[in-house]
C-alpha cells in the first residue's frame, strides 16, 4: 500500500558514546550600525530608530507629543502640522496609486489630530528614466484626491536621482490644518473605560499591494482601502462628540496602532478578536499566505477612543457615511494598567498582542 521504507534507521555516532548533544545555533548578529529594511516596517525596530536617533537629536516638547501630527499654537489658533513620505512598490495597485496614498495619507494624519486639512506640500524624488506619462497620471490622482479632501497643494519640490531599485518615484508631503477640538484628540486624553471603535474591516491595503507586487493572482483581485478619513472624523467633531484619541492603522496594522497608543498613554487595552471586522476575501488570502490580518497595513482605517455613551451614535454616523463598511467596537480601555494590549482571541484565550519587530512576509511554515 505504501512505498518501501523511505527513512533509514541509522543512529548518530553520539548515541553510542552516550554524550549529551550540544546544540547551539549561532546566528551572526546583524550589523546594528546600519539601516535595515525592517526599520521602515512600522514595528519595534522602526520605533527604536525614531526614539534613539531622531527624537534624541531633535528633542523638544512639541516632538514629544508622539502623535501623527504636531500641535502648534500660532497667535491663538491651534494648528496641526504633519509630514509623511511615500515609498510603495508597485506604484500602481488595485484601488489606488502612490499619488492617492500621498494625499490621503497626509490628510489622514491631520484628521487623526482632529484637524480640518487646509494645505499640503508635495516633494517628488524621481528616478531617471521614469516615464513622464506615468508621473502625469500620478499627479492627476493627487489633484483628484486633494479636491475630494478639500486641500490645496501649494508648494513642492522636484529632485532627480539615478535609476535604482525603486519603482520610479518617491513622494514626500507635509500638511497643515486647523484643529477642531479642544483639547485635541491625542494619547494623553485616553481614559480608562473609553471604548475603542474601528471604522471598517481590516487588511485590504497590505494584501492588495502584496498581491500586485508578488503576482499571487487571487480572484477576485484584492483592492486597497485607501481613502480620506476626513469626513469620518469631522462628522464627529462637528457634532461636538468628545473624541479622546484617533490613530490610523497604517504600517504594522491595527496591532501597531493599538500598541503605540498603549505605550504613549501608559494604559492597557482589552480587545476582542471576534469583534474585529475582516472581510471574507481578506480572510481567505491571509489564511493561504499565513498572514495575521491584525498586522496587515490599511490606508483607510482608523481607531477612535470615545466615552461609552457615544458609541452607538458614532457607529451610526460612520455606517451612514459608508454603508459598505462594518464599523464596530473592538475593545475598551482597561481600568487596570498592565499588559499594553490584551487580545481575547477567537478561542477565548487572553494573551498579549505584541507588535511585530519587522514586516510580515508570506510563509509556508
Amino acid at each position: 500500500m505504501f512505498i518501501d521504507n523511505f527513512y533509514t534507521k541509522e543512529l548518530r555516532m553520539d548515541e553510542k558514546e552516550k554524550q549529551p548533544i550540544t546544540w547551539s545555533c549561532p546566528v551572526e548578529q546583524l550589523d546594528k550600525s546600519k539601516i535595515v529594511l525592517a526599520h521602515g516596517g512600522g514595528g519595534t525596530l522602526m520605533h527604536q530608530l525614531i526614539k534613539n536617533v531622531f527624537e534624541n537629536a531633535f528633542k523638544n516638547p512639541l516632538l514629544q507629543q508622539h502623535h501623527d501630527s504636531a500641535f502648534i499654537d500660532v497667535q491663538g489658533v491651534k494648528l496641526a502640522f504633519t509630514t509623511d513620505s511615500f515609498v510603495v512598490k508597485p506604484i500602481f495597485f488595485p484601488g489606488g496609486d502612490i499619488g492617492k496614498l500621498a494625499v490621503c495619507g497626509t490628510v489622514n494624519d491631520l484628521a487623526m489630530a482632529g484637524a480640518c486639512p487646509l494645505y499640503m506640500s508635495a516633494g517628488f524624488i524621481l528616478e531617471e528614466g521614469l516615464q513622464i506619462g506615468i508621473l502625469q497620471k500620478i499627479v492627476q490622482t493627487m489633484k483628484r484626491e486633494a479636491d475630494h479632501a478639500g486641500v490645496y497643494i501649494v508648494t513642492g519640490d522636484t529632485k532627480v536621482i539615478n535609476n535604482s531599485s525603486g519603482d520610479g518615484l518617491y513622494i514626500n508631503t507635509s500638511g497643515i490644518g486647523i484643529v477642531k477640538q479642544d483639547p485635541p484628540p491625542c494619547p494623553s486624553q485616553i481614559q480608562p473605560g473609553d471604548c475603542i471603535l474601528i471604522n471598517g474591516d481590516i487588511g485590504r491595503h497590505g494584501l492588495a499591494v502584496l498581491n500586485a507586487r508578488e503576482e499571487i493572482h487571487f480572484d477576485p483581485e484584492l483592492e486597497s482601502d485607501c481613502m480620506s478619513l476626513v469626513p469620518a472624523v469631522l462628522s464627529l467633531l462637528n457634532l461636538g462628540i468628545p473624541v479622546h484619541c484617533l490613530r490610523d492603522c497604517t504600517r504594522g496594522g491595527l496591532s501597531s496602532a493599538l500598541n503605540e497608543l498603549a505605550e504613549e498613554s501608559g494604559l492597557s487595552f482589552y480587545i476582542r478578536e471576534e469583534d474585529i471586522p475582516i472581510r471574507d476575501d481578506v480572510r481567505g488570502a491571509c489564511e493561504i499566505l499565513g498572514l495575521n490580518p491584525l498586522y496587515v497595513a490599511n490606508e483607510g482605517r482608523f481607531i477612535a477612543f470615545v466615552p461609552k455613551q457615544y458609541v452607538s451614535e458614532v457607529l451610526q454616523i460612520w455606517q451612514d457615511l459608508y454603508p459598505d463598511l462594518t464599523p464596530k467596537q473592538i475593545g475598551v480601555v482597561s481600568e487596570n494598567k498592565g499588559t499594553p494590549v490584551i487580545l481575547q482571541n477567537t478561542i477565548g484565550i487572553e494573551l498579549a498582542l505584541p507588535m511585530l519587530s519587522g514586516e510580515q512576509l508570506p510563509r509556508i511554515c
Binding site: 549561532p26 525596530l45 499566505l289 478561542i347 509556508i364
Partner: protein, 362 residues
C-alpha cells in the same frame, strides 16, 4: 472556512483544555517539531492555557533551525553576485546567513522574488528564458512533493534555465537525534500533521517502540492541537507508548502514495547539515543524478563554503530539548532580542525565545 472554523470553536477548545488539566496528574513535557504548529500554539495561546500541567517544548521546526547556513549563504551569493532570479518562500527572506539575509540582499538590488508556490518559479523561468531562475527549495516532507513537481514540470517544458537550490530535511531522523540524548526531557511528541499527510505515520512506529514514547499525529487548528495533546496526555498517564492519529480527516497511515512516488522519482535521501547541529545522516533530500541539470550546485559546480561554528552564549540546544527555558539564558532579553538575535529560537517568530520575549515578558 469549512474544516477550519469548526476547529477554532471556543467552547470545544475550553472543554478540551479542562479535560487535559483534569487528566494530567503531573507536569508532562511534550514537543511539537513543526514550526506551523508552534506558530498556532503561540498565536492561540495554547501553551499558556495548559501550563503548568503541560509544558510544550518548541522543537527545531522553523526555517531558521532547519536550513543549513551554508545554503543560505549560497542563495545570497547567487542573488547578489550573479544576474540570476532567486525565487524563495517568504519565510526564508529574513533568515540570517553568516553575514546578511536575502531580504537585505534584495534591498541592495539582488533579484530576489518571493513566491507562494515553487510552481510559480517555473512560470517565472518560462517568462524569462534569457535568465537563470533558481528556486530555494527548503522544507520538510510536506513541501518535498511540491518541489518535486516543479522539477517535473520544468523538465516537461524543456526549460534549461531552471534549477533548485536544495535544502530539504526529513523529520524522523531529527526526532531520533533529540530522543537519543540521554538527558532528553521530552516525554511525548506531536507529529507534524501535514508531514504525515504526505508520508503517513508508519515510520514513527519503530521510533515510538524504541524510545517507549507516545507520538500523536496532530493537526494545526486549536482544537486539533488540543485533541493531539489530550491523546498524548492520556497515553502518558496510562504509561502507554506508540503512535496515535488525532488528525484523521487529513492523515491516513499510509499517507499520500502519489506524493511519495513523486518524491522518490525526483529525490533521494542524503546526509544533511542542520544549522548548529551538524550533519545528521539520512536526514535530507537531494535531486537524483538523472536530474543533475536541475541542481544548481551541480549545474554550476558550486560548493557551499563550510563556516566554522562559533561559540556563543546561546543555549538554544538545551532550550530545544526542554532542559532549560529561555528565561534561564543569561542573554535573554538583554543581549539577545528579536531585533538583535543571537540564536535561532529568537530569530524566528515561532522560536521559543521569541515567543517568550513577546508573550511572557509583557
Amino acid at each position: 472556512m469549512k474544516y477550519m472554523d469548526e476547529y477554532r470553536n471556543p467552547q470545544l477548545a475550553k472543554n478540551l483544555i479542562r479535560e487535559i488539566k483534569q487528566f494530567a496528574h503531573q507536569t508532562w513535557n511534550i514537543m511539537e517539531i513543526c514550526g506551523g504548529q508552534t506558530h498556532a500554539i503561540l498565536r492561540f495561546g495554547i501553551d499558556r492555557a495548559l501550563t503548568p500541567e503541560v509544558q510544550l517544548i518548541h522543537g527545531p521546526g522553523c526555517p531558521v533551525c532547519v536550513t543549513p547556513i551554508q545554503k543560505i549563504d549560497l542563495a545570497i551569493q547567487l542573488a547578489l553576485e550573479t544576474d540570476i532570479i532567486l525565487c524563495s518562500f517568504g519565510d526564508m527572506l529574513r533568515v540570517p546567513g553568516s553575514k546578511t539575509s536575502l531580504l537585505s540582499a534584495r534591498g541592495r538590488g539582488a533579484n530576489v522574488q518571493t513566491v507562494y508556490s515553487p510552481l510559480d518559479s517555473v512560470k517565472i523561468a518560462q517568462q524569462n528564458l534569457n535568465k537563470q531562475v533558481v528556486f530555494f527549495a527548503v522544507g520538510f516532507e510536506t513541501t518535498a512533493p511540491v518541489n518535486a513537481m516543479a522539477i517535473k514540470k520544468a523538465k516537461e517544458l524543456g526549460l534549461t534555465n531552471f534549477s533548485l537550490l536544495c535544502a530539504q530535511v526529513l523529520v524522523p531522523p531529527a526526532m531520533e537525534v533529540l530522543l537519543s540524548d540521554p538527558y532528553c526531557q521530552i516525554q511525548g511528541f506531536l507529529a507534524a500533521g501535514h508531514v504525515c499527510t504526505v508520508m503517513g505515520y508508519h515510520e514513527y512506529e519503530p521510533i515510538a517502540e524504541k524510545y517507549k514514547i507516545p507520538i500523536v499525529v496532530t493537526g494545526f487548528e486549536p482544537v486539533d492541537l488540543l485533541l493531539g495533546i489530550k491523546e498524548c496526555i492520556c497515553m502518558l498517564e496510562k504509561g502507554k507508548y506508540g503512535v496515535q492519529n488525532a488528525y484523521t480527516r487529513s492523515v491516513q497511515r499510509e499517507g499520500n502514495v502519489t506524493a511519495q512516488q513523486l518524491i522518490k522519482e525526483i529525490f533521494e535521501v542524503c546526509d544533511q547539515d542542520w544549522r548548529g547541529l551538524g550533519c545528521i545522516p539520512h536526514s535530507g533530500l537531494r535531486l537524483k543524478s538523472d536530474y543533475a541539470d536541475y541542481d544548481v550546485e551541480k549545474k554550476f559546480h558550486l560548493t557551499p563554503e563550510k563556516n566554522e561554528e562559533k561559540q556563543t552564549v546561546c543555549i538554544a540546544g538545551e532550550i530545544l530539548q526542554g532542559k532549560k527555558k529561555p528565561t534561564d539564558c543569561p542573554a535573554f532579553a538583554t543581549l539577545c532580542t528579536p531585533e538583535n538575535p543571537i540564536g535561532a529560537p529568537m530569530v524566528s517568530n515561532e522560536g521559543a525565545c521569541s515567543a517568550y520575549y513577546q508573550y511572557e515578558k509583557r
